[in-house]
Subunit: 400 residues, 2 copies
């Protein structure tokens, strides 16, 4: 009998705790294989510092609330493990695993976290410790390779589409309106920003700027002016990760550095004001896009539970060094299956949008709609208190 540890890693999503829920629900069905069910606090840091909690001490009601609690309830980290498996960190991790008789490790995260997952698998091989390691995909950026999509993306995209519609409707109310510039997350891949392509009619954004595009400030300003001259308002959706040519004026060089993510909507709005004197409305979706509990997609939530269930069933069968990938089954109705994919083809790889899809997003969005619409369907049922969606609060009883 071996114990299982689960941890969360990288940026939160609104369904990462749903993945945790799925792990708990499946793990308790296998008392013949899994003894203790532990959570590592602040990702890999919990294994480094022997900081684990006993999930079996949490009550049923709290566990149910995980499905509607954003953030990362166990805490998370961006700590990067050394490439050198002889680094002292690995000894600490092994000590924690051995001390608590842990033989199963589930890592819930994105590209960087799959790197952590991969290194842990290699460590077990190297030292010959009987412990399997599997990854559960998670990122609103949707940029993991070899999976149709990532858990958390559907809900974040649902927020983006819904909120863009709301904001667009609000921006239509004045005869002479504003230049609204909305900033969406996504460091190098435009998947989340491209969700804007799902809007149609009067609320359709005037332009969408992806990180995969070449960004040129002059072109942007010209486009803004042309739209405003015609409509007396405008809606521009910009990824936080837009790139721009290096030969900009010193002013723009100063106000946008390549490394500066977030606040780009404000910087662009300043440029529009400076150049044309137009009234602007910069809007940054900020943490809301990854933490909006009211916008959790039912499909995303169900798939999060299912992926965890697959991960637990595979790991007790001895599978290791892999991530549970989501494969879309071709056909008119949306259907997926789950399979393990080797971590070495996933860790640290960024899956960007194809040139064809980018072209589509800038035109009629037919491909993007076919891809994304199934992922934003339905809403989960919420437990509310005083009008607000209730959040899970764990007891976090330490494993000694």
């Amino acid at each position: 009998m071996k114990n299982l540890v689960y941890f969360q890693s990288g940026g939160p999503t609104s369904v990462i705790n749903t993945s945790f829920y799925g792990v708990i629900k499946e793990a308790i069905k296998h008392p013949e294989s899994i003894g203790g069910i532990f959570g590592s606090l602040y990702g890999i840091e919990g294994l480094l510092n022997d900081n684990l909690i006993d999930v079996r001490q949490e009550d049923e009601q709290t566990i149910e609330l995980l499905k509607q609690t954003p953030g990362a309830i166990l805490g998370t980290t961006r700590y990067k493990l050394s490439e050198d498996l002889n680094h002292p960190d690995y000894e600490k991790i092994l000590a924690t695993l051995k001390k608590h008789h842990i033989g199963y490790v589930l890592v819930n995260g994105g590209n960087d976290s799959m790197d952590t997952c991969h290194k842990l698998s290699q460590l077990m091989d190297k030292v010959g410790y009987d412990c399997q390691v599997l990854g559960i995909p998670k990122t609103i950026d949707n940029d993991l390779a070899n999976t149709d999509h990532c858990l958390g993306y559907g809900s974040a995209a649902k927020f983006v589409v819904q909120t863009l519609q709301d904001v667009a409707v609000d921006n239509l109310v004045y005869n002479k309106g504003k230049v609204a510039i909305v900033e969406v997350m996504g460091r190098n891949a435009g998947w989340l920003t491209a969700a804007a392509a799902l809007l149609e009619g009067e609320v359709k954004p005037d332009r969408i700027y992806l990180p995969e595009d070449v960004f040129d400030l002059e072109t942007f300003l010209t486009e803004v002016k042309a739209v405003y001259d015609q409509k007396k308002k405008g809606l521009f959706v910009v990824s936080e990760g837009i790139k721009w040519e290096r030969d900009l004026t010193s002013v723009t060089k100063d106000s946008f550095g390549h490394a500066q993510l977030g606040g780009i909507a404000y910087s662009l709005a300043d440029e529009v004001k400076k150049r044309f004197g137009l009234s602007t409305r910069p809007i940054e979706f900020s943490l809301m896009q990854r933490a909006a509990s009211a916008h959790i997609s039912l499909v995303d939530s169900k798939e999060a539970i299912k992926v965890s269930s697959v991960a637990v069933r595979k790991i007790i069968k001895g599978k290791t060094n892999a991530m549970v990938a989501i494969v879309r089954v071709p056909g008119t109705d949306y259907k997926v299956r789950y399979k393990l994919h080797k971590l070495k083809h996933i860790a640290n790889v960024e899956h960007k949008m194809s040139a064809e899809l980018i072209h589509d997003v800038h035109h009629d969005g037919v491909m993007m709609k076919a891809y994304l619409r199934p992922l934003i369907q339905g809403s989960i049922k919420y437990v509310t208190k005083d009008g607000i969606i209730q959040r899970a609060i764990l007891k976090k009883v330490k494993v000694i």
Copy 2:
């Protein structure tokens, strides 16, 4: 038989179109008194320019969708009518009213719009034209006098409380986190920002800054530092309307001007970074707080329908120059009644928070919770399409 015109004025809310729905539903019940039901496009501008639509041409399904459509579907304006009733604008307005046999005018708006409403009433008196004028309260700022609260406030406050909880949960995930600074709307009154007082436990904001408070940058920075030193993260909620002492350094004078509303979270985050080098997360709730269709409060929605119904029933009985006010009935259960209140005591008056309530918000928030919680209860039932809340799209058939 007289015709009725309804118009929307000032900033939108997520239930202003629910008020419109309520007007339509009640008006069609009184065929003996009300002939045509018209909507004026872009507020008073529609009466100035003879730009009216025939609401009876809209289909039933579209009218139902008004209850889940944010913005101001007829368009709105901030146009201010002259104090001088001999101004040519009034001739134009009268011409439109007479041309279309309009004898009832319903104005849906806030303080400034109640001024428009008041002037129209005085105009009818002066020229002896048989036309009644009533106001329907609306503002997320909740700063109308002589009403317990304003339509739109409950839904905006529900967004603020829910989204602050989501953001706070997300800001807890890292061991060493960020200084989150969240900016909420409210030019001179802190009602909406004070909604932050409803949060409890780990997600309770560390400090709340209202426009009614004296704001001092040094005090703010000292408070941020103290919180961060203790918790390694922090959540500060700031009204866009915060005031500050004039004797600040030239740097801060330049970065925050009294007139500059919006973007204050970013300016304050810059100050925190400059002074302490801390990692910050400025978040502006922007248009989302007044346009979030997913956060419409059921109580707000129901009251919006009820207030409109009262307005229509009163106006056909000849009532004029008044606004429908909401009166809270004392007692343990939340209950309200509706009564007309004279416009001269409402127009242009700003109802700010009392010193007692401000003190409460900065401490345990008991009074604020008792006041606000009833207003954010329940959710409306939504019609969705492709996972997104469907919005009403009017045909807008012009009245000729």
